[in-house]
């Protein structure tokens, strides 16, 4: 019964976007525990100040969800409005709300399944985060990427980024963990630093190379080391690509696409 209802909610939102024939828009869903009306008021107030474009609100009363459609906005803009909404709610002392943000673009077309998945992810969100919607493919075609890097920022950045791009990601903070995860999951791609703790980078690459029958797992080295000997040693150990830090995110994306 409930399932059916949600379906119709998804249908409703879907229709709204379809009718507007907008190829580019941002979606924000907010779910509040209590004081729903005041929350909605607060959100529309804050957006009316900060957001210049065409905004559409739709309240789903019984499940306590407000959906906001921001026409013509990209992910980064939508994400930013999400931040504004969150902040304005916090300012008013409304701490218990869940939020999800999603872009609708030419590549990322709107569908009822997508909206349903958004509802699902919204339910599982914690109060202090803004969830960025990403599709969970169920097919076997999903590629797995293992990120091995001792630098927390870079590692988390890569994991987050490729998660959002629809890859399955694994992370390891040192060589030991890296080897373990490699043996367990045989990922399609490994992005690794060679300056590792526990096991040194060469040793890590050697072990991967030994176990890598038929070259199923591609390896990209992402490191700050620039010495020529290091680079050639890595290629001798079967590495597919070598990128030095600082790196360009767009270039890295392209190289990954080429390999997978």
């Amino acid at each position: 019964m409930l399932q059916l209802k949600e379906n119709t909610e998804a249908q409703e939102i879907y229709e709204v976007i379809k009718v507007a024939e907008s190829n580019l828009c941002g979606l924000i869903f907010v779910k509040c525990k209590d004081d729903f009306d005041k929350n909605v008021q607060q959100i529309s107030n804050s957006l009316s100040i900060s957001c210049s474009g065409n905004v559409h609100y739709r309240v789903i009363d019984h499940s306590g969800i407000l959906s906001v459609i921001l026409y013509g906005k990209t992910l980064s803009e939508t994400h930013y409005y999400g931040l504004i909404i969150k902040q304005s709610l916090l300012d008013k002392g409304y701490y218990e709300h869940q939020m999800i943000v999603a872009p609708v673009t030419v590549e990322n077309k709107i569908s009822i399944e997508m909206i349903e998945q958004m509802f699902y992810q919204l339910d599982n969100a914690s109060f202090d985060e803004i969830v960025i919607f990403h599709e969970h493919f169920k097919s076997n075609k999903v590629r797995t990427i293992l990120v091995v890097d001792g630098d927390n920022t870079i590692r988390q950045f890569l994991v987050q980024r490729y998660d959002l791009q629809g890859y399955n990601t694994l992370e390891a903070k040192d060589g030991y963990q890296g080897i373990q995860l490699y043996k367990q999951y045989k990922p399609d791609l490994i992005i690794t630093d060679i300056n590792l703790s526990g096991i040194d980078g060469y040793q890590f690459l050697t072990q991967i190379n030994k176990n890598n029958v038929g070259n199923q797992s591609k390896v990209i080295v992402l490191t700050s080391r620039k010495a020529e000997n290091t680079i050639s040693a890595c290629f001798n150990l079967g590495v597919s690509d070598y990128i030095t830090k600082p790196f360009s995110t767009i270039e890295l994306d392209a190289r990954i696409k080429r390999l997978l």
Partner: protein
């Protein structure tokens, strides 16, 4: 008789005050230098340097004598340093235990007889070199027993890079330690002939996969006292000495040298302990005699964690050995004292070490005995003994507090306030018993030297795993 006792006692008291003042001057130099050091450490991105092609390659020399328990972890630790180009050369110094076999098994090394080794300096005889191409930066050399100096010389002969670094097999380097040293070295590569790292006590710390995960104070009393003692020497003392280019020692546990100068002074001297002090004295001598501008530098943010002796027996044996080595070095180089040719080293470092380090036990003990004797004759003079003890205590305590402040300003390795309180309290113990023991051990070391007793004494190791529970 009474007058002589009193007079001598008072002389000793002034001696102690003078030592305190000298210490103070050194501490002052440390303070003056600390901001510069701190700036250098915080405003340089190590990650940029770690990938640079301009960082000089280093050969790490690790002499190992009966280290089967710790050697595996150590080599693993050294292989994962954050440094662009380096090699690890372990020299098995004729160990009687399984040190060599442990390494061969762990790293699947293969033997080669290596006849074409260079002979830059006199060294122990090489029996073979072990290598595995899967560990391209690791070499293990098997040599006849020649003591630490002999083993280091073997490493010098074999090494491929212009900088060498001596590292004790019972120490763990922090991942960035070598890079931090290289940063300082690169700022003055022509003049710096040797540069030392900071040695800290690892007992009590949590160790995982060959690196320090959590810094804690040791639980046992002997290592705890040494922790405070090391902090005082390395932070309060060496920073100051280095700022006037008067360092007499770069710790054998972790120091980096320009190889060509080490070769020019004939490498390490064997036969006596204290080879780490000896090489530095020789470098000072060589550079000053040849009028080459130079520096013996110190890099306190490059940290090497070492295992301190945790029983009375081992500690006393270590200190006697140091006493012996120190005396030998002083006698060997007495000609440098107060000679204009040897500049700051001849006028400051050497006299300081002879009069305030080597003679220290004699003056302190005899001074104390004289005053006690005097008080025994005239019981009303008991307060003079008291004053002597108090001065001794307070002056030492003061310097500890000074060093702790320096540590707090620049390094903050011990995160909890509880640790500071503990260190403050135990520094009292340091001066109410531990230092007196130190004086005694040094004296015993001198006696051993005169008796020509030249053994290494007891040295046993625990494995890192036991240590981290």
């Amino acid at each position: 008789m009474r007058e002589i006792l009193l007079g001598y006692g008072i002389f000793a008291m002034f001696y102690v005050m003078l030592v305190t003042i000298v210490y103070f001057v050194i501490l002052f130099f440390s303070y003056r230098n600390i901001y510069n050091i701190q700036r250098g450490a915080t405003y340089n991105r190590l990650q940029t340097l770690s990938g640079s092609e301009y960082v000089p390659p280093v050969s790490l020399l690790v002499p190992a004598f009966n280290e089967e328990l710790t050697i595996k972890e150590n080599v693993r630790n050294l292989l994962t340093l954050n440094y662009p180009v380096y090699e690890v050369i372990v020299i098995n110094d004729g160990s009687q235990d399984q040190t060599l076999q442990v390494l061969i098994d762990e790293f699947k090394l293969k033997y080669s007889n290596n006849q074409a080794i260079r002979y830059s300096v006199n060294a122990s005889k090489v029996k073979g070199v072990y290598y595995n191409p899967n560990y391209p930066n690791l070499y293990v050399i098997d040599s006849d027993n020649g003591g630490k100096a002999g083993a280091l010389n073997v490493g010098i002969n074999f090494s491929h890079y212009p900088l060498i670094s001596s590292i004790d097999a019972d120490s763990l380097l922090e991942k960035d330690a070598l890079l931090r040293i290289a940063r300082v070295y690169m700022e003055n590569p022509e003049e710096i002939v040797a540069i030392g790292g900071n040695v800290r006590i690892a007992n009590g710390c949590k160790i995982e996969n060959g690196s320090i995960k959590e810094v804690k104070l040791p639980k046992k009393i002997w290592p705890l006292l040494q922790t405070i003692e090391y902090m005082k020497a390395f932070i309060g003392g060496r920073i100051g000495w280095s700022s006037i280019n008067g360092l007499i020692i770069v710790s054998g546990a972790f120091g980096v040298f320009q190889k060509n100068y080490v070769i020019k002074v004939g490498g390490y001297r064997g036969g006596y302990p204290g080879e780490d002090m000896n090489i530095i004295i020789k470098l000072h001598r060589y550079m000053l005699e040849n009028n080459i501008p130079y520096k013996v530098a110190y890099c306190p943010d490059a940290v090497c964690w070492t295992q301190a002796p945790d029983t009375y027996r081992i500690l006393s044996s270590q200190r006697k050995r140091w006493g012996r080595g120190n005396l030998k070095n002083m006698i060997e180089n007495k000609d440098m004292i107060l000679r204009t040719r040897y500049k700051q080293f001849g006028f400051f470092t050497m006299p300081y070490n002879v009069f305030f380090e080597t003679f220290n036990p004699y003056v302190k003990i005899t001074g104390f005995l004289a005053l006690v004797g005097y008080a025994l004759i005239d019981m009303t003079a008991i307060n003079i003994v008291l004053v002597f003890t108090l001065i001794n205590f307070l002056s030492g305590y003061l310097l500890t507090v000074g060093s702790l402040i320096l540590e707090e300003i620049a390094f903050q390795r011990y995160p909890k306030i509880k640790d500071n309180i503990k260190m403050i309290l135990f520094s009292a113990v340091l001066f109410l018993g531990y230092y007196q023991l130190g004086v005694l051990w040094r004296l015993q070391g001198h006696i051993e030297f005169l008796q020509n007793n030249n053994t290494w004494g007891v040295m046993t190791r625990q494995s890192w795993n036991e240590e981290s529970e």
